[in-house]
């Protein structure tokens, strides 16, 4: 299995914040991989470093076997669509498409034309005046029609209506099958997009908390709910990823597969499955092991971690 993107101990510190903290991952060639995690988890930083738009504080990144920094041969094979992609002030749609055609060796004008129609992108409006959804749509056109061997989409769906998102997923899968390439995309719409992904890397506070095949993660955690005392007892020998307590009732997302049958022997606890989205949310949950419900615990743990670093 060839590796498209490989990082070793990749770290990026912005003043006191560790945006990316000792990240060692391998993204396989010709897969669609999801980069998941909360805002500020380090997803955009990871993409910026892999596309040489930013430099690591320490550690290394190699793309298609080489360092991408000031490496034209590698850079022309990369396409990075930022969530807030900027365009020159006077650009209209045709200017953006013309520039992309020059920049990307594998550019497909046919695919670009098809997508412009599907997304109903205006021809005469300057890009600066595009709505959020139109801007995202233009990013998707550039990202897909570039057919770059390594394509990065940072939250490509922002502001897109449900129909446009469906078009995006359909064309992404179709064109990926016809022209296999490595696609790394970050998303918060996990329930909607998890089936498109082959692998996921889940980041939290700049660190990798999970790196696996999507299908491996299904059934790898479960949810338990019931009376707080019973839930506590159940959790005594297990790892809770997140806990939620209201009055005498508690719910927790627990590492590991669900016990057989869906109910415990005493019938006091109820078990249910956890979607990938719920799992990612659980990883991002602060104060996972403090039942004292709340923000105090979350803040305390945040201060703890920051204190430990500085």
């Amino acid at each position: 299995m060839t590796i498209a993107i490989e990082t070793r101990g990749l770290t990026r510190v912005h003043r006191e914040v560790r945006a990316l903290d000792d990240v060692t991952v391998q993204i396989r060639e010709n897969t669609i991989t999801g980069l998941l995690g909360r805002n500020g988890a380090g997803k955009t930083t990871f993409m910026s470093l892999a596309t040489a738009q930013d430099r690591p504080t320490s550690g290394s990144v190699s793309v298609l076997g080489e360092s991408p920094f000031e490496n034209a041969r590698i850079l022309e094979q990369l396409c990075f669509i930022r969530d807030n992609q900027r365009y020159p002030d006077d650009y209209k749609l045709r200017h953006a498409l013309r520039a992309a055609a020059i920049f990307y060796p594998n550019w497909s004008p046919e695919l670009a034309g098809e997508l412009v129609e599907l997304f109903r992108i205006p021809q005469k409006t300057i890009v600066k005046k595009f709505s959020r959804g139109q801007l995202s749509a233009l990013g998707i056109v550039l990202g897909l029609a570039s057919r770059a061997p390594v394509t990065f989409f940072d939250e490509p769906y922002l502001g897109l209506d449900a129909t446009a998102r469906t078009y995006f997923y359909d064309v992404l899968l179709r064109d990926y099958q016809a022209h296999p390439r490595t696609i790394l995309l970050s998303t918060h719409l996990i329930d909607e997009m998890d089936r498109l992904l082959e692998r996921v890397v889940i980041l939290d506070r700049g660190r990798v908390v999970q790196d696996a095949e999507v299908d491996e993660l299904r059934g790898m955690a479960h949810q338990v709910s019931g009376r707080a005392a019973a839930v506590d007892a159940y959790l005594a020998e297990r790892r809770a990823l997140s806990r939620h307590r209201v009055g005498g009732l508690a719910t927790a997302v627990v590492d590991g597969p669900m016990p057989q049958g869906g109910r415990d022997a005493g019938g006091e606890l109820e078990f249910s499955s956890v979607s990938l989205q719920e799992l990612v949310a659980a990883y991002g949950f602060d104060g996972a092991d403090s039942l004292g419900s709340t923000s105090d615990a979350a803040q305390a743990s945040q201060i703890d971690r920051q204190g430990a670093r500085s």
């Binding site: 669609i32 089936r195 992904l197 499955s273």
Partner: protein, 145 residues
């Protein structure tokens, strides 16, 4: 379409097996390709490929190089045999548990099943002779859904 309890490739393999069992695809017929399944179901092609390969391993499908995947001769029998093993566990035991919870006794349960099978109302007198007293209904297991 898919749930979160199990890997999607397993759920997809089960669906295709289901379709074969119900005659949507007959023995010797070609099933949709990885690409068709991926596009139709909007799933990653690797996931669709894994489902088809699982069925090849179980000898339900056979790969013909350069042409596609076909339902093997005897696939239906294989699937039926696998499913029969789960029939008591998945259907009969939950049926008995629900009947007990609703206070439906054995004679009434058999009468209801016979009515469904024949499509006409069956009275308890009609089925009484068929009842075999030496085979009591198994106690439903506690906790069976």
């Amino acid at each position: 379409m898919f749930d979160d309890t199990r890997p999607i490739f397993l759920q997809l393999a089960e669906r295709i097996a289901d379709d074969i069992l119900r005659g949507v695809y007959v023995e010797g017929e070609q099933v949709p390709s990885t690409n068709e399944l991926a596009a139709y179901l909007r799933i990653n092609p690797a996931t669709a490929g894994k489902a088809l390969n699982l069925l090849v391993d179980r000898e339900i499908l056979v790969k013909r190089r350069g042409i596609g995947m076909f339902v093997t001769d005897g696939a239906k029998g294989l699937i039926a045999a696998e499913r029969q093993q789960g029939f008591v566990q998945s259907f009969i035991r939950p049926l008995l548990a629900e009947a007990t919870a609703l206070g439906i006794d054995r004679a009434e349960l058999i009468r209801l099943v016979s009515t469904e099978v024949t499509g006409t109302e069956v009275t308890s007198a009609e089925i009484a002779p068929a009842e075999t007293p030496r085979a009591p209904a198994p106690e439903p297991e506690a906790g069976t859904p």
